[in-house]
Amino acid sequence: MKVGYYPGCSLESTAKEFDLSFRTICKGYGIDLVDIPDWNCCGASPAHQLSEELAFALPYRNLLNAEGANLNTVVSPCPACYSHLLHTHKTVGEKMGLSSRLTEMVGRAYQESVASKHVLDFLFRDIGVERIRESAEKPLKDLRVVSYYGCLTRLPGVDIDDAENPTMMDEIISALGAVPLDWSHKTECCGASLSITRTDIGLRLANEILEAAKDVKADCIAVVCPLCQSNLDMRQPDVEEKNNRSYNLPLIYLTQLIGLTLGIDFKDLGLGKLIVDPVPLLRTKGVL
């Protein structure tokens, strides 16, 4: 099965292991990922904060390139990239005059043929929970996992799960043989967009989320966003120091957890790239 893929800037850098693990598990499931040719940045928050037209035109070029390569479905690992592609696709069809304006800006007309999916939705619906359960050769026994969705289910254009209490990731965690935990902060904002400019706010929000995970005695946090991951993982030592707490909570991409159950090697899943080292935990639980 051939599927379009839009990695986005973070997956080339701070979230390399998300890219690596997703590509590796797709290979395991027989899915052929095809990158959008010569893709560009979606514009992220700075584009929609400063220019409405730029915020549409940047994702529009990606939709055009996907369409040009006959990619009818494009999967994005980053919720922001995904929402920007989806929202642009939807708005072009709804807002009078936008299509012609974007055609004028980018130089080509979009035929609205590209369906966008987030990695979580793709895993849940396209690969399917049952297939994930059946192919879990090495189940994650006794691993207590909180699923962290962040703002994914509320972003513009997104309608994949309950906005207040999503359960897709929890169901996958359960299919992997691990223990999904109910907790208070599954959809709270991590503040990643302010992580560089107002680090104080990012650290406060990260502390609240880590504390909530610790309260339910989680072993680790499962994530599907490169920004949530880096904000909670990279800054965790600073959060611990500032609040005089010890969390030691690995932030593991859902794709890495799935990869472990498929028996894929630790290195091929980029688990060594996580800042909070998951190895001691995974050894204790007999996963490694």
Binding site: C9, S10, E12, S13, T14, A15, K16, D38, W39, N40, C41, G43, A44, S45, P46, A47, H48, Q49, L50, S51, E52, E53, L54, F56, A57, L58, R61, K95, G97, L98, R101, E104, M105, V106, G107, G150, C151, R154, P156, A163, E164, T187, E188, C189, G191, S193, L194, I196, T197, R198, T199, D200, I201, R204, L205, M234, R235, G272, K273, I275
Partner: protein, 186 residues
């Protein structure tokens, strides 16, 4: 200045915002759900529901100069919970752009600077070069060593590239930037 001329018509500011983003602040019933839900409310000078109230009473200057519109992380919790269906995060986005257009002294200048450096990276390469972005931002905000410990950690993990890699078709990206306006159709 435009803010001073908004005094004759009590609906003027609300109508301007409505025309820009189709979000009608007059629907707000001041229930406070957005403020109660906002993860960043503790750091905001005006709470989200107060921003809406200011728009309703044509009080544009406090809204355009507050820190709130810049601190909003666009997490959309307020929008998804508003009983009147107001897309508050979209409204915040519109207010940022109006604030810049009117050249008002802004609540959080460093966030505007970050956004501009971020977009400049896209304009040059087509993608964001994270290390370059943070280093340029640190220089611009005169805190060259901010997060240097994290930079080293990430470099050690092979998660930061030293050099930017541009996309092939940078000409189209430059065209997009040259043609883009603050608001669609305005």
């Amino acid at each position: 200045m435009k803010v001073l001329s908004r005094q004759e018509d009590i609906h003027q500011f609300k109508d301007e915002i409505l025309a820009l983003c189709d979000e009608d602040a007059s629907r707000c019933v001041q229930c406070g759900k957005c403020t109660a839900s906002c993860p960043i409310a503790p750091e905001m000078d005006l709470k989200p529901s107060q921003v809406l109230r200011h728009i309703q009473i044509n009080s544009s200057k406090p809204v355009l100069q507050c820190s709130t519109i810049w601190l909003c992380a666009s997490c959309e919790t307020c929008s998804s919970r508003c009983p009147e269906g107001i897309e508050i995060a979209t409204l915040m986005d519109t207010l940022r752009k109006v604030a810049i257009e009117e050249g008002l002294a802004m609540g959080q200048k460093q966030i505007v600077a970050f956004d501009e450096i971020f977009l400049d990276s896209i304009k040059r390469y087509g993608r964001v070069h994270e290390l370059g972005l943070v280093m340029r931002y640190n220089m611009a905000s005169r805190q060259p060593l901010k997060d240097a410990h994290l930079g080293l950690l990430m470099l050690g993990k092979g998660k930061l590239s030293l050099f930017a890699h541009g996309i092939r078709d940078r000409a189209t990206i430059r065209e997009i930037f040259r043609k883009s306006r603050r608001f669609f159709g305005k």
